[in-house]
Amino acid sequence: MIQHQSLTNSINLTTFETNNFLEFDRVGLEYSVDSKPRRIIEDVSFSINQGEFVSVVGPSGCGKTSLLKMVSGLNPTLIGEIRLQGNKITKPLKNVGIAFQNPVLLPWRNTLKNVLLPLEVVQPYKREYKKRLPEYKRMAQELLTTVGLQDFQQQLPWQLSGGMRQRASLCRALIHQPEILLLDEPFAALDAFTREEMWVMLQNLWMRVQCVGMLITHDLREAVFLSDTVYVMSPRPSSIIYQLKINLPRPRTLEMCLTDDFNHLFSDIRRHIRRG
């Protein structure tokens, strides 16, 4: 009987882990403006499965970035809760990788050292940093090669172009094998052609790591290209008003963006975007 109990428990746990890896449970957000509370996010509820890549799109000011900060634990979730594998997120998570619109590389470190930064901070890498440095360097170099930066390891950030900096920033977000990759409009500052190249690179990187990805973006084509599921948020006070599964095969290619399938998905999402 006891054995049976523990068996069901473990089964529950496994299904739980794969199917509701990250859960948003009636998450809300309020700001006080002139000491009057103002609701930004009304109710966001959805869940992300293990290994799934989701995008959250919506008009500006609907609290997408705040949502991301709450997931990472950088900002507290005061209304509702976000659970990672069933545990409520209350403080900054240790196993996330974040990339912002601004690449925020440390200007005093060259590309390689910037990418190595998480390994100096996150356990278990930190413990053995000195001993395993050559191995870590190889890991960083492999990532940099994936994004075509193998010849720019020694360059300082100001010597790189905007796209190169963002690529280095992605490598930094992924080197410590995070369970969650959080991306806040990472390519918004890049030109259209560079941006499309970055989609492909990001997809390649993500397929190597196979972690949960959550992308905040304004670019609907970007959302379709990269995601397994796209969530659309309404204007303020916002909630999820539409969700769409993207069943295009992976790895996706830029040619796919020209297919009818792709364009149907794109138009479907576009129809659900409302301005604030």
Binding site: G73, P92, L93, K94, L106, P107, W108, V121, V122, R172
Partner: protein, 257 residues
């Protein structure tokens, strides 16, 4: 010809040769003006007589210059320690910012020359007032810049570290401190000159040695060439001090453009 000249202006040699030539030219014009208009020695001595005085009094000049250098450096080192410490307090603690900072600003508005007589009463006419004046003039810019550096770290940069689960200390090590270094070095260049001004002022008001003292004594003896030799020695000391920090800065923050 023109393009060759332009090329020379942009070269590294030009940045050494031209200032040197300009200085020589200044002295030559000076010498000519003094001779042509027959300006008396005690109004404006000629460079040649200044040189003569410098040679005649070289042991005194060297000894006093050494003393000024020692008091300046001592005061400056204390200023660095105090300034960095206060900068951390103001930059990291809201309470320190609200309580300490206004007092520091108020104190900084007092002309430090006015303190020298008091310092002389307390410590006597020796090297202590000079060291203290150097310190008092120099610590403020250091404290302000360190606080500014810590305060201006991009929040996103801190977020990158915090999202990795970094401790406060790690955020400081990896981001706060390196970000503050350029601010610190900018302030060191200014503060070094301030410390120098401070010690010379104190020496000329109340002291028994140093370049300030030497110049005051020389002027009261109407030995104007010696006073000028003292001034030139001060200029050289100042340039050496400033140059030292420029070079140090280049190595310490090689990554800044």
């Amino acid at each position: 010809m023109r393009s060759k000249l332009n090329h020379f202006f942009r070269s590294k040699t030009a940045s050494f040769v031209l200032p040197f030539l300009a200085t020589i030219l200044l002295f030559v014009v000076w010498e000519i003006v003094v001779r042509v208009f027959q300006i008396p020695q005690f109004n404006l001595p000629s460079p040649s007589s200044i040189y003569q005085a410098a040679v005649n009094y070289s042991p005194q000049i060297l000894a006093n210059a050494w003393r000024t250098l020692v008091t300046t450096t001592t005061g400056f080192l204390i200023a660095i320690a105090t300034g960095v410490f206060l900068g951390f307090l103001i930059g990291y603690s809201r309470i320190a910012y609200l309580t300490l900072y206004p007092i520091l600003v108020g104190f900084n508005t007092i002309p430090k020359v006015a303190l020298v007589p008091l310092l002389a009463v307390w410590f006597g006419a020796n090297e202590i007032p000079a060291t203290l004046t150097a310190f008092l003039l120099a610590f403020f810019p250091i404290a302000v810049n360190v606080a500014l550096g810590l305060d201006t770290v991009e929040p996103e940069m801190k977020d990158v570290l915090r999202s990795l689960g970094a401790s406060q200390l790690e955020v400081f090590q990896k981001v706060g401190w390196p970000h503050t270094l350029p601010y610190l070095f900018a302030s060191l260049k200014i503060a070094a000159s301030f410390a120098f001004v401070g010690s010379v002022i104190a020496e000329s008001v109340a002291s028994n040695g140093g370049m300030g003292y030497l110049i005051v004594v020389a002027s009261s003896n109407f030995d104007v060439p010696l006073a000028f030799a003292g001034l030139l020695a001060l200029a050289v000391l100042g340039i050496v001090l400033y140059g030292f920090f420029v070079i140090l800065e280049k190595y310490a923050i090689y990554w800044a453009r």
